[in-house]
Amino acid sequence: MGTFEALMGGFATALQPATLMWGFIGCFLGTLVGVLPGIGPALTIALLLPLTYHVPATSMFVMFAGIYYGAAYGGSTTSILLNTPGESAAVVTALEGNKMARRGRAGPALATAAIGSFVAGTIGTLALTFVAPWVVEAALAFGPAEYFSLMVLSLVAVSAVLGDSVLRGVVSLSLGLLLGLVGIDLQTGQPRFTFGQAEMLDGIEITVAVVGLFAVGEALYLAWQGRESRGAEVMKVSGSLRLSRSDWARSWKAWLRGAFYGFPIGAMPAGGAELPTLLSYYTEKKLTRHPEEFGHGAIEGVAGPEAANNAAAAGVLMPLLTLGIPTSATAAIMLSAFEGYGIQTGPQLFSQQGGLVWTLIASLYVGNVILLVLNLPLIGLWVRLLKIPPPWLYAGIIVVSMAGVFGASNSVFDIGLLFVFGLLGYTMRRFGFPAAPLIVGMILAPMAEQSMRQALIISQGEWSTFVTRPISGTLLAISLLLLVLPVWWRRRRGD
């Protein structure tokens, strides 16, 4: 079946009322969590994982996709009105967006963010639609050795490229790898790092780790600082939500450039959304005809990064669906959700679960429209949410976190583990350790080990297989470069 026919089939399912309803719920929830600081899409999806027992896979993933995209939309609202990004990828939006709000132009800032998100999200989804089948074709040539090397590349890229310290990134990654190995070895049945505890035999639930690190850890960090309850100024939604002709003229190119940054970088291992938003911001700063406005509320500084953010969200889905490799914490959680349904992501996903994949992709298009419609008219609601006093907001976050974890296992042990990860999250936040490498390490450790052992079985114990196979060797060489280059570059700049 051609791509276009498959996509049309996906639309046929995505536009059914029940599926639309789940998509709407996902978009609404996603915008909500994007607006609220302290909760992100990874955490939200993790908390909703217990639903996988009750809801069909297609509906669930349509909702998750809505949450994922919605959070990218919602994060801009908090950045612009509160100068506090609701999402890490919305940090750059706050630079110019909040300045625009202070100049009485919050409306145009919100409008350009929403429209740019729609334009770039659609471009990113188009790219996903037509590029994914090519990647699947290429990935069919991948064997266990190539998968192992690709995972090594992902792990190195996540720890070496993101964050401001390669060393702390690698510490975080190593810790994640160790935690990912807790439990029974699948090939031999031997228990590892279980301390004789029956609760540890199945390993550490990724949900517990994510919720602990991001929700409890964030709450502990903010409670420790004690500044949150002082409150932040929420700007009024001033100015019309319509863009003037001049605003359109300054925004549309930034949207397109942002989209073309966002998708390819988001699709790369460790690409994420932070890097393309930064690149977009600096590009717009260089290309603008109004350089004096940058730092004081330049609309291009909102348009470009927001577009990059949303296109990157589509890009991140590509390695997840086509290769089964998660390149962000949210993608790692979605991979867990696929595993919960017994669905294997990777090249075979398109052939074995084509209906689900194309419905998911079609729902991204529909979700973009829903989000454009949701965001601007409901801006009053989102602003009210921002005014929730921090004590009740964080009480709610912790209670819902415990509900999610306790609901999944009814285990007090897991609640204890939740708070242990919370302490870890606080420590990581305070001492500058990035969390994404730890999560990706936890997910990829057992997968990488399995691939490595399978590759060695096929090669009859020959370790050179990882280097002599061309694709595998190339991927390992790139990994080595990624590890060495940032350190060399920093030393060179220091000279």
């Binding site: 217990p50 639903l51 009750h54 060393l167 702390r168 690698v170 510490v171 190593s174 790898l177 160790l178 190995l181 070895d185 090939q187 031999t188 031997q190 228990p191 790092f193 301390f195 409890v216 709450a219 502990l220 409670a223 420790w224 600082q225 004690g226 949150e228 309850s229 004590p391 009740w392 964080y394 009480a395 709610g396 912790i398 209670v399 819902v400 415990m402 509900a403 999610g404 306790f406 609901g407 999944a408 009814n410 007090v412 609640i415 204890g416 939740l418 708070f419 919370g422 936040r429 305070r430 001492f431 500058g432 450790a445 080990e449 490595m452 052992r453 060695l456 079985i457 009859q460 114990g461």
Partner: protein, 154 residues
């Protein structure tokens, strides 16, 4: 807590990991890579990077937000921290005998107190409403098993 102490903590984790690696039983199945190699390599890698981090911390090159005036904690940090963690402990202790709502309410009050809300009737009412609302959403609407809302232990 300082970066050097974090390094010492990581070193303790490495020591425990190394000890646990020695306890992994070898497999009777013949294979190129058994269940021990990858955990041993990961534990060794963590030990190496921990050493590098420790040296860097000892030279004062590692970050600690407590020393940044813009991010340093306001007075009372230990109390706020303890209040939040205490809430979690209360939940763990009471959820089995008392059901979900009361322990979650008490936990919520602990968290709220960590963000400067006074424990009292207002806090109990708001946190109780939050706990009950989430119990209804998860347990009744979504069918996720949270146990009973209230349980009489006697």
């Amino acid at each position: 807590m300082t970066p050097l102490r974090v390094a010492l903590l990581l070193a303790a984790v490495c020591a425990v990991a190394g000890w646990q690696v020695t306890l992994i039983p070898e497999s009777a199945i013949q294979m190129a890579v058994g269940p021990v190699l990858v955990p041993a390599v990961v534990a060794a890698a963590l030990s190496l990077v921990t050493l590098a981090y420790g040296l860097s911390a000892w030279r004062g090159r590692q970050v600690d937000e407590a020393s940044d005036p813009a991010a340093a904690p306001l007075p009372g940090a230990a109390g706020r921290f303890a209040s939040l963690l205490g809430g979690g402990l209360v939940f763990m202790w009471l959820v089995v005998p008392l059901g979900f709502v009361i322990p979650a309410t008490l936990c919520g009050m602990g968290v709220a107190h960590a963000f400067d809300a006074r424990p009292g009737l207002k806090s109990a009412t708001i946190c109780g409403t939050i706990a009950l609302a989430f119990w209804v959403v998860f347990s009744v609407w979504l069918g996720v098993g949270l146990g009973p809302a209230l349980r009489w232990p006697f």
